[in-house]
Subunit: 284 residues, 2 copies
């Protein structure tokens, strides 16, 4: 793979940030992998990683020599972090993030770094967190959104797109509002529903969980994710998620009514529609 950036710096080295650096370094996409993290414990962990070249104590110092800065912090933290680094980046640096919601973050980027900031959102992750779970294959075959600003340099957008492609993702360019509407449906709604199912089942006799099968295990896996991260994501994408949830409540009510009326024809039609949707899955 061609080297795309001399220095790639991740601010907030959680699962996504550290997986990204590990993959970029091991694929030769950068010469130096640089890390800043808010917690000293994470910085110490980062120093011990073979893929990590430099660890910084402040975000301002971390970004100074970076050609690509990737904000891996929780979504509600990113706007303040952008303000903090704005005066310290190289003029030619590309600054991006991996946050799950784009409107607030892109608005902040446009305010403080209109020439440098381009939003990203790789649809990768897991219920695990932190450097210890870093996985350089995390992005392979996953979708990735690149969200340019009106001020973005087309060459920079192209370079960032090449970077995500080189990590194995399937890149789509879109605007922040469209992005947020899409992920409200294909990511935030499913997450909310998996959590809600666990909340409902947590009201059962604790032993009943022992009777569950693989179906329930798979259906609820994402509910084990970090509550603080997801609370922030839900809050930042509140309007679109509410809309998705309201449409889903309609589906649930349709199903409930069909059951209540023993309307087997409607029940089967709903199950068939679901099966058709699920059987035609883009990537297995």
């Amino acid at each position: 793979m061609p080297m795309l950036f001399e220095n790639v710096c991740v601010l907030g080295s959680g699962l996504l940030g550290s997986s990204l650096l590990m993959a970029a370094k091991n694929r030769g996409l950068c010469r130096r992998a640089q890390v800043w993290s808010r917690s000293e414990a994470t910085r110490a962990q980062a120093r011990a990683q073979p893929w990590c070249d430099q660890v910084f104590d402040t975000p301002e110092s971390a970004v100074q020599a970076a050609d690509l800065v990737v904000l891996g912090a929780p979504v509600q933290v990113i706007p303040a972090l952008l303000e903090k680094i704005a005066a310290h980046i190289k003029p030619s640096a590309i600054v991006t993030d991996v946050g799950s919601v784009k409107q607030d973050i892109c608005a902040a980027g446009q305010r403080v770094l209109p020439k440098n900031f381009i939003g990203s959102h790789p649809m990768a992750g897991s219920e695990k967190t932190g450097i210890a779970a870093a996985d350089q294959t995390l992005f392979e075959a996953q979708a990735c959104f690149v969200v340019p600003l009106p001020e973005s340099d087309p060459l920079a957008v192209e370079k960032l797109t090449a970077f995500w492609s080189a990590l194995g993702t399937r890149v789509t360019q879109t605007d922040a509002q469209t992005h947020d509407r899409i992920v409200a449906r294909v990511s935030h709604l499913p997450h909310a529903l998996a959590a809600a199912l666990c909340v409902t089942l947590s009201q059962d006799h604790p032993e009943w969980k022992n009777f569950s099968g693989n179906g329930l295990k798979d259906a609820t896996r994402i509910a084990a994710s970090d509550p603080e991260l997801w609370k922030q994501i839900f809050s930042q994408n509140r309007a679109a998620l509410l809309q998705a949830l309201d449409q889903h409540i309609e589906t649930i009510n349709t199903l409930r009514q069909a059951l209540d009326q023993a309307d087997e024809k409607t029940i089967k039609a709903l199950l068939t529609r679901a099966q058709t949707y699920r059987q035609n899955w883009p990537i297995e």
Copy 2:
């Protein structure tokens, strides 16, 4: 493993029935594996299986020499099948089933074969169907309910329990009503919700599915299951499923209200409760 039955006969050789026979034969739990299936195509498939010793053209002839009869047909078909075979089984035969709902089936068993019928429900399966998907490890480490009738011979219950244990399941004895309440929660509700989620998402632009990640893929896997089988399961367990669905609608409304009011404290409390439930999973 000790041989528990000379002849084991499965009526309705779908995924569960054929996996059961394959496992029983290969573990030496029976001498002869016998099959009847409604469809001639399935009977032909069964004849080609190395684990299958005899294939019959009618259920009446299939059960005549069987020491254990396992009804693997869809749940709404089982009561009529029980009536059909009642006059043809050996007096000492144990008759059981693998249906996902127990009250209707056990009532039918009590009506026509009170001395022979004992209900079973292994919490195994997948979105796949048919002999071609048969898997002799399907039952390993899964929960299995054994549901005796008041008339059941304790020695027969013990023998059936030993059989399921020898297939690798964790057996629990319970009554039909308790069984149906439990599975309404840990199996039928999750199934209904996965299907409902797919129905909601099927209303999106078809391309949006390409942006989904592994979380959605796992959360909806069971929605690919056979609509006819699950329509029958939902119908037979209608009352308990409706109750579960109503309780779940309350959870969804609580979450919706918290989102609507930007009540981050409640959102986080719900997500934390879900995480706690999911992190303490009985078997990984």
